[in-house]
Amino acid sequence: MNFLLRPLVALATTIALAAAPDERRSGYDIAGPEIRAMQDDDTANPGNLWVLQGETLWGKPTGAADRSCADCHGDAQMTMKGVAARYPAFDAVLARPLDLEQRINQCRTEHQKAEPLAWESEDLLAVTAFVARQSRGLPITVSASLELRPFLALGKQLFEQREGQLNLSCSQCHDDNWGKQLAGNLIPQGHPTGYPIYRLQWQSLGSLQRRLRNCMTGLRAEPFEYGAPQAIALEFYLMERARGMPMDAPAVRP
């Protein structure tokens, strides 16, 4: 039976793939040649400055525990490989998902006995960029565990819900109208592959949460507070939506 079924299943899979080619495009895929060249070249990608700063912080003892990240995690090139590609991840004690920034801050408060780093601070962006850099080229693989399903459903609901005075949903732009021009801006599919990103318009590195707040403000909606469970649920849904796409942090965006 198994012996008969297997080739059939294989055939069905091939047909399904052929019928529905992967239509997903990252911000990099739709970017112009200058942006791509800037992202690809470590000496030209401004995000790399934060990566280098993050590497320094990785090895620096901090807090009352006087321990560095490296004291617990060793060589980031080995131990942080693929980590950013599977965040937000479920925290069993808090019974909710945490994103990478929150996880880093949890290590600071619990293991280094240090103050948490402020959202969008240079140091938090630097450590996050350094950790995310270790996932470059690796596919996004967030967990699909049972505990996370309600958060995924919340994120999807928030993505598809109209909001703000302009009464638009994320999905109306990023699913229905990607590739079109919103005045001077090309609408991307909104995949979170490259965060934290260096955005030319910001002249700085910025987190995925900052990006989401930008879109929400544009809709004249009240943006979610940094770290709010809704914001993490949206991040989580975006990662699930981009499952399998390669990470390219720190990316460069217009």
Partner: protein, 161 residues
């Protein structure tokens, strides 16, 4: 170290997660406070009567369409606006809108296009109800005032093929 959850604690965690998510959904319910809008009557696919006593001004209407903080129409639309280099490609060209639609039809399309097409991407410019998470600064206010709607209607009506 955390112990890998037994089935019991796993169920409890799932229960907690569900409760937390339900609470978040409830808090996202539609905003309550709304300002009074001028009453208007929809007849067929139009609002035949003007929202104001004084007639709209087409020159002001044109400026409202171009202004990113007011109409911001060219985020999505293209139209006969040679001075604006960046125009959108999400929506039909506004050229000739006055030939395609009557004044009343244009008015409803601005006031609340979801009455014609519930899935539309076009924002409702004169509506305050049934919106979600509107930012504090805009809460209870329509995107455009009744006067501004009439100005834009006057300008669009003048766009003839």
């Amino acid at each position: 170290m955390r112990k890998p959850g037994s089935r019991r604690s796993r169920q409890r965690r799932l229960g907690d997660a569900l409760a937390a998510v339900l609470a978040l959904l409830a808090s996202a319910a539609a905003d309550a406070q709304c300002e009074e809008l001028r009453p208007f009557k929809i007849v067929g696919d139009a609002i035949p009567a003007a929202l104001t006593e004084t007639a709209g001004d087409a020159t002001r209407g044109r400026a409202i369409i171009l202004d990113r903080r007011l109409g911001a129409c060219l985020l999505c639309h293209t139209g006969p606006f040679p001075e604006e280099k960046f125009q959108g490609t999400l929506a039909p060209d506004l050229t000739g809108a006055g030939s395609r639609w009557s004044e009343g039809e244009l008015r409803l399309r601005l006031v609340d296009p979801t009455r014609l097409n519930p899935q539309t991407t076009m924002p409702a410019y004169y509506r305050v109800e049934g919106l979600t998470r509107v930012a504090q600064a805009w809460r209870g206010k329509p995107v455009l005032t009744a006067e501004q709607i009439e100005d834009v209607v006057a300008f669009l009506s003048s766009l003839r093929d």
